[in-house]
């Protein structure tokens, strides 16, 4: 199948190096300590953070750092066919783990000993690249909750189809059988925290795809920073001028 027209346009009209439309909203769940939705095109994820709070299960408590827990799930309406995807399935478990580890690396857990941070991530609408979208949403939610982090962590996926590195695959492209590589990195520290790919790929191609994904992640970082800045500005305005 052709994923690129002779013109170089993808099936949805993007070029190979273009991201989908990014949208984000912070503070969507009032009750939670932090929450955000993040959209990459038609992929929409909501992330909710509770904590830092007391550890619920005492014997899990760690005396020198915070306990980070993560729960990933897909809404049953998130895909077209109404397949029930509980939180118990393998995919969900794996993704929970991946997100937890990534976030744990970002959070300064040693500042919050004997406490617990819960991250709930739910996919509202799935159209490829959910993994990256979840991480981005979680970052926003953590930032909203005011949890200390080394740097924001951002993520983006890239693939390789029709001998071309392609940024930010949607569902159609994702199911095209090519490699799908997700990168999560700290934009300021310039360090990679997550790199995941499940297929074989020649090493020279890998480098191209990898650098493209990182570049995409940096663009996402820029967007997230702007979102947070705007959010903070609004909060500051709502709060009014500081009183001394």
């Amino acid at each position: 199948m052709d994923f690129l027209s002779p013109e170089g346009l993808r099936l949805d009209g993007r070029r190979a190096l273009e991201l989908r439309q990014l949208q984000a909203e912070v503070g969507v769940v009032e009750k939670a300590d932090g929450s955000a939705t993040f959209e990459m095109g038609n992929t929409k994820v909501i992330a909710v953070v509770y904590g830092p709070r007391e550890v619920q299960n005492r014997n899990q408590q760690q005396h020198d750092q915070a306990l980070v827990r993560c729960e990933y799930s897909m809404a049953s309406f998130s895909t077209g066919d109404r397949r029930r995807r509980g939180k118990g399935d393998r995919r969900a478990t794996e993704l929970s783990l991946v997100i937890r580890q990534t976030m744990e690396a970002a959070i300064l857990t040693n500042l919050l000993p004997r406490s617990q941070i819960d991250i709930f991530v739910q996919v509202l609408q799935a159209d490829g690249g959910t993994r990256a979208c979840c991480i981005n949403a979680a970052t926003l939610a953590l930032a909203d909750a005011g949890i200390p982090m080394r740097d924001i962590i951002v993520s983006c996926a890239a693939g390789y189809l029709n001998s071309t590195p392609i940024l930010d695959l949607n569902y159609l492209e994702d199911s095209g059988g090519g490699p799908d590589l997700t990168v999560a990195l700290f934009p300021k520290l310039n360090k990679v925290s997550l790199l995941q790919m499940d297929s074989k790929i020649p090493i020279d191609v890998f480098e191209k795809v990898m650098s493209l994904a990182s570049e995409g992640a940096r663009t996402v970082a820029q967007f997230i920073k702007e979102t947070l800045m705007e959010n903070t500005t609004q909060l500051a305005l709502a709060k009014g001028p500081p009183k001394f």
């Binding site: 013109e7 346009l9 009209g13 273009e18 038609n42 077209g80 066919d81 020649p202």
Partner: protein, 1259 residues
């Protein structure tokens, strides 16, 4: 490597679609994003505002055409014509069309706009912000899609500012309502806006063709035949629908029970295949047995080796060879035995050599009435049932559905009956005709056309559209005319079409890319190239060796002696990749062609002649660009390769030799007029020593390769001499000179070095050529033959195979050995191109035949596209260590190695092109051979390779033919070998045959006298027989071969035998370095009688030489007299040299000079000895009276000759039996027979007297 992540889109929309899922029987909601943008270029060269790299729409086109989906799918064949350019393919239209298309057609469709030669463009109107509409949905109704096409046309018209004529097509009228809705169309169904000559028009297809292509018959004819065929199909569908089920069965009943079964639906087939009830595979039919189909099922997880047999048109159920079909296996009691054992199956030595065998049941000769043919076809199953033999039956099946029809062109002519009809009543308006395809496997085809008058007596191209259930024959449509039947050009064209080789000329746009080279403005090497290439022009003496009259010289060779005693041996290949830039139109043309196709007397070049015959060709006397492989070798140490250099270079070929000429030089013969090389005697000597070095080098490489297990394969190529009207007047097997091997070996070496190099640099994407080991079961027949002769054939590895072939050579006559070699060659699998990274199976990229780890094609870029690719890879691989290139160059060479996906497609394509061109060339040879045999019957030597119950299969090594010879005809008469001309020419069967009986015994066939039981003739495997080959003409097909066995006493057989014997004598005593092992002294054993014959022959030739020399000598003396005594001496010194030269030329292994005589002619004895030592011909010995003891001393020698001598020593290491010293040998070879000794001495005395200068003897 930072890529810019951009956001170029302007808007985003979401489109909801509904998708029906067949499996789960549900409807799926699909929401897709559409990103809209305005940076999509229009693709026209006229446009100034779009940012575009290489617009494809031509600026000078009369109009741009925008197709709609209907006309695109219905008339795709028209749009495929090369003259249709300037088409804008809209993405929405393509998407809509693809929905109704098979995968194969989709690929074709894609090539319409991706192939830049078509000068068409693809326009993504769905994502273009000005043409996008919310309804861009695949299920859009006709009116909507029509609106869209018109909207885009309108945009194009405005965008180009009216500078181009735009034509948009609209679907043929379906109803009035759509016409009203149309945005811009008026009542007439067409609209024009704009003024003057540049307008925007909306037309239907037929008006478009009428208005724009009425001048071009090929377009309009193809269009109208397509329209006709479509109309007919629609009509048939309506009839079928209207008739109802009962009627249909009645119609079927009317035609007897021979109607075809209905094909199953695709869903049903899928389901049944999943359940394991059906098998899917490609339908194969053998050329000789058109009614016997085989299918090798390709279901997953099945033993696919077992073929399913599908006999008869009824069970085949409208399948054509090459179709992908689904088969149901019948109950085992209905299984049948094929007449021809399946190639892959075990040897089913069937008893069913039935009557039809010789008649070819479905050979639709013009004599046959068409209906009879159809009738007999359908009856075949019955007759097959009659001869059902259970123990030999194989799994038999019936075709229940056709998953994919093969798409190809067929060459056909009108059936005789129809032709007669036409010639009688020219005024008739009949439009339905039967035509006979050239391919015997294809049934007759019904043709519906208006051009019948023009088709009479012509061959033309047709395509098959469909095969209705109630029709006996498929229906097709006419595509184009080829020419009159029987005309050689037409037949060759037909061959090309049948093999899918395109003969379209190079497009004008691609020709514009060629560099200019005219008389007033000749092409020269640009300054830039001079600086960045290694210059071999002055340092290396370069020459090329090719077949005579070849104009495209791919390769040149050079030798250079380094001061440190090493040698530089260079292979220089034309730098085609310099002229054919990656991605250029020329590149695309070359890629599409894949290879040059050489037919008898004509060739279809891969590159335009200005490149292939001039600028790329390494002609002599001009500077040319090349890519070189240069080895540094150590001549002292068995030519060990010390170093190798690859890279771009400039060469200046000094000599353009042809094989025979180079051979003559290396043999030291006097060159006949026209064969001389420029540069005089010194140059000749230098060239000779160069060639000798090359010969020795390649001999050593060849031995090395053989030691590693290379299999020497034989393939006889035919050479035709043609008369002025191109008819063949003589045929002969091409002669292979040792020089051919020498050059080939150097090319193999260069290829393997380049293969290794690119593999090292690009382990995943290197283009290599591999040769897989043969399938073991393909040796079945061969092993039997070997057993009959008492040989063992070890097929476990290539080395073992080569060894067993060599063993055969030692002990047998060459005819049988050649036959074996040819049979082994046939058993080999085909070599093919492959991508290094993709080979995961055990054999990998190993080349079995050549015994090389890595092999590729590098040495013929002028005639093979693969070589161009390999050149690019090699240059990319060399980039780091070769001459420094500028930064800009670097970025361009990144793309030298194409991405693997693209490469994969190219490789597939090249393999396919390679195969088809090979096939076409072989078929062309066959046609010429048959045409030749049609005029002149030939008697040839053949070997029995298989015993059948009523005949034998013989192999004719000379023509590489396998034919069946019958010993019993259909009436049961025995056919005896013909002893004289009378019955051969008439083709009559002997009357007294009833006296004989044919008896088949284990492994042999005997003809006995029926009364006494006495055995008259015995036929065993690998027996040699004489056969006469003739060919019968046929109108619809190629001529057919007829074979008749001859008795050894038959005059034709005798004549042929004599001729062969003569040829053998001519090739007697070849030069020592000859590569064939026949000639290595001591290894080859000959019978006693042979030896005598050879000695006789040699003696004769010596006498002749001596006489010639005497004349020469006398002449040189006369010259010498004029120059005084000193020069006379010199002259004579030279003459000794010359004598040995003469002998070398005569391929005499050793020469003995008579000291006495030489000395008596006035020279000092040791001067002569020194001279003789320096001459160092093949083997110069001194003939001297036994009393004088003397040895050859190495005296002051010229460096050149000294070198030559060293060379010989190296090279004689293996052959040096003759180096044993001389006089004793003479006596020992004479043996102890004193009378023979005396006789010999007398003979010599006589010779000496006759020559008066020298006496000679030879070993």
């Amino acid at each position: 490597m930072n890529q810019e992540v951009t956001t170029g889109w302007l808007g985003r929309q979401e489109v909801r679609r509904f998708k029906a899922r067949r499996r789960s029987n549900s409807i799926l909601i699909v929401v897709q994003e559409v990103y809209l943008r305005d940076d999509i270029p229009c693709g026209s060269s006229l446009c100034r505002s779009c940012v575009q790299q290489s617009p494809t729409l031509p600026a000078d086109a009369s109009h741009y055409l925008i197709l709609d989906a209907d006309s695109l799918t219905q008339f795709m064949e028209v749009w495929e014509l090369p003259q249709i350019t300037g088409v804008i393919y809209l993405s929405s239209v393509v998407k809509e069309a693809v929905n109704h298309m098979s995968q194969h057609n989709y690929r074709k469709l894609r090539s319409l706009f991706t192939d830049r030669r078509r000068q068409s463009t693809f326009f993504d109107d769905e994502h273009f912000i000005y043409t996008w509409s919310l309804n861009s949905d695949q299920t859009a109704s006709g009116a909507q899609s029509r609106k869209r096409v018109e909207a885009v046309a309108g945009w194009f018209y405005e965008h180009l500012g009216g500078s181009a004529q735009i034509v948009a097509l609209q679907p043929l009228d379906r109803g009035d309502s759509s016409a009203d809705e149309s945005v811009v169309s008026n009542q007439l169904g067409r609209l024009s806006i704009g003024d003057g000559c540049r307008t925007l028009q909306v037309l239907t297809v037929d008006t478009y063709i009428k208005e724009y292509w009425h001048h071009d018959t090929s377009v309009s004819e193809l269009f109208s035949s397509l329209v006709q065929s479509r109309a007919e199909a629609v009509e048939a569908r309506i009839v079928l629908k209207g008739a109802g089920q009962a009627d249909v069965s009645a119609r079927r009943g009317g035609k007897g029970s021979h109607g075809f079964k209905e094909h199953l639906s695709v869903d049903l087939i899928e389901a049944e295949v999943a359940d394991g009830l059906l098998r899917v595979g490609v339908f194969h039919v053998d050329k000789n047995e058109p009614l016997e189909g085989f299918i090798y099922p390709s279901n997953k997880g099945e033993a696919s080796k077992l073929a399913i047999f599908v006999p008869g048109r009824l069970l085949q159920n409208r399948a054509l060879p090459g179709d992908l079909v689904a088969v149901r296996i019948l109950e085992s009691k209905l299984w049948q035995a094929p007449k021809k054992a399946s190639q892959r199956g075990k040897k089913a030595d069937s008893k069913m050599i039935s009557e039809e065998e010789s008649k070819l049941p479905y050979l639709i000769d013009e004599e046959d009435d068409s209906s009879d043919v159809a009738e007999s076809n359908l009856k075949v199953p019955d007759s097959v049932q009659d001869r059902l033999v259970t123990e030999e039956a194989v799994p038999t099946g019936e075709v229940v559905g056709i998953l994919q029809r093969v798409q190809r062109d067929y060459v056909a002519c009108l059936a005789q009956e129809d032709e007669d009809y036409l010639s009688q009543s020219l005024s008739s308006r009949r439009e339905n005709f039967l035509c006979v395809p050239m391919d015997r496997r294809i049934p007759m085809v019904r043709l519906n056309t208006r051009f019948t008058e023009r088709l009479v007596g012509q061959r033309f191209v047709i395509r098959i559209d469909r095969w209705d259930q109630d029709s006996r024959v498929p229906s097709g449509h006419f595509v184009r005319l080829l020419g009159p039947i029987g005309d050689l050009d037409t037949e060759i064209m037909a061959l090309m079409v049948e093999n899918g080789i395109s003969d379209t000329p190079f497009s004008t746009a691609s020709l514009q890319e060629l560099p200019e080279d005219t008389a007033e403005n000749p092409w020269t090497i640009p300054e830039k190239e001079l600086s960045c290439r290694r210059d071999f022009r002055l340092t290396h003496r370069t020459c090329s060796i090719d077949p005579p009259e070849s104009k495209d010289v791919d390769d040149a060779l050079s030798v250079r002696r380094l001061p440190n005693g090493f040698l530089e041996i260079g292979v220089h290949i034309a730098d085609v990749s310099y002229f054919v830039r990656q991605g250029s139109l020329l590149d695309l043309e070359a890629r599409a062609r894949g290879t040059t196709v050489y037919m008898v007397g004509k060739s279809w070049h891969m590159l335009p002649s200005i490149l292939s015959e001039n600028l790329c060709s390494l002609k002599c006397g001009v500077d040319r660009l090349a890519v070189s492989v240069v080895w540094t070798v150590d001549p002292e140490n068995d030519f060990e390769i010390l170093d190798v250099w690859f890279g771009r270079s400039i060469v200046h070929s000094a000599h353009q030799l042809f094989y025979a000429q180079a051979q003559a030089i290396v043999d030291g013969e006097i060159l006949p007029p026209g064969w001389e090389v420029s540069g005089g005697k010194e140059e000749l000597t230098a060239l000779e020593s160069d060639l000798l070095i090359l010969a020795s080098f390649s001999q050593i490489r060849r031995d090395l390769r053989k030691a590693n297990g290379a299999v020497e394969l034989s393939s006889s190529e035919l050479r035709f001499e043609t008369a002025a009207n191109k008819e063949p007047i003589s045929v002969d097997a091409k002669q292979q000179l040792p020089m051919n091997w020498i050059v080939a070996e150097l090319m193999i070496l260069a290829n393997s070095y380049v293969g290794t190099k690119i593999y090292r640099s690009f382990p995943s994407t290197a283009l290599l050529r591999r040769h897989q080991p043969p399938r073991l079961d393909s040796f079945g027949l061969l092993l039997e033959c070997c057993a009959a002769r008492g040989f063992t054939l070890d097929t476990s590895s290539n080395k073992a195979l080569a060894d067993s072939l060599d063993r055969m050579r030692d002990s047998n006559d060459p005819v049988v050995e050649n036959a074996f070699r040819a049979l082994v060659t046939r058993a080999m699998s085909e070599a093919e191109y492959c991508i290094a990274g993709e080979q995961s199976d055990s054999s990998g990229v190993y080349h079995y035949g050549l015994a090389l780890e890595f092999y590729t094609h590098f040495t013929s870029p002028i005639r093979r596209y693969a070589d161009i690719l390999v050149h690019r890879m090699l240059l990319a691989a060399c980039q780091d260590n070769s001459v420094p290139t500028e930064a800009t160059d670097k970025s361009s060479t990144v793309h030298l190695v194409p991405a693997s996906q693209e490469l994969h497609e190219v490789v597939e394509h090249l393999n396919e092109r390679h195969r088809s061109s090979k096939r076409a060339q072989k078929e062309c040879d066959e046609i010429y051979l048959l045409m030749f045999l049609q005029k002149h019957a030939r008697a040839e030597h053949a070997v029995i390779i298989r015993i059948l119950p009523k005949g034998v299969i013989v192999f004719v090594p000379k023509y590489d033919l396998r034919v069946r010879v019958y010993l019993e005809d259909k009436k049961g008469n025995i056919i005896l070998p013909a002893e004289d001309d009378s019955d051969v020419d008439t083709g009559e069967i002997l009357g007294q045959a009833s006296d004989h009986v044919l008896v088949k015994e284990h492994g042999s066939l005997k003809i006995n006298l029926s009364r006494s039981g006495e055995t008259k003739y015995v036929y065993k495997l690998m027996d040699s027989v004489w056969v006469q080959l003739r060919a019968d003409g046929s109108r619809a097909h190629a001529p057919k071969l007829r074979v008749r066995q001859l008795g050894p006493a038959h005059p034709a057989a005798r004549a042929s035998m004599l001729e062969n014997a003569r040829r053998e004598h001519r090739g007697l005593a070849p030069p020592v370095y000859s590569l064939s092992r026949h000639n290595i002294p001591g290894k080859h054993k000959r019978g006693k009688g042979d030896k005598k014959q050879i000695v006789q022959d040699k003696k004769l030739s010596v006498e002749k030489i001596v006489k010639e020399f005497a004349v020469e000598q006398a002449r040189s003396k006369e010259d010498g007299d004029l120059k005084g005594s000193d020069s006379l001496k010199r002259k004579e010194v030279a003459s000794v040299y010359e004598v040995t030269e003469v002998f070398k030329r005569r391929k005499v292994a050793s020469v003995y000079l008579d000291m006495e005589c030489i000395c008596s002619s006035g020279q000092q004895q040791d001067e002569v000895v020194g001279l003789v030592g320096s001459v160092d011909s093949v083997d110069v010995g001194l003939w001297m009276p036994l009393s004088i003891g003397m040895s050859v001393s190495e005296r002051v020698l010229e460096p050149e000759l000294w070198f030559l001598k060293r060379l010989r020593i190296v090279w004689q290491k293996k052959l040096d039996r003759a180096a044993r010293i001389r006089a004793t040998v003479i006596w020992s070879t004479l043996g102890n027979n004193s009378s023979e000794l005396v006789q010999r001495a007398e003979k010599e005395e006589e010779l000496r007297r006759g020559a008066n200068v020298l006496s000679l003897w030879l070993q």
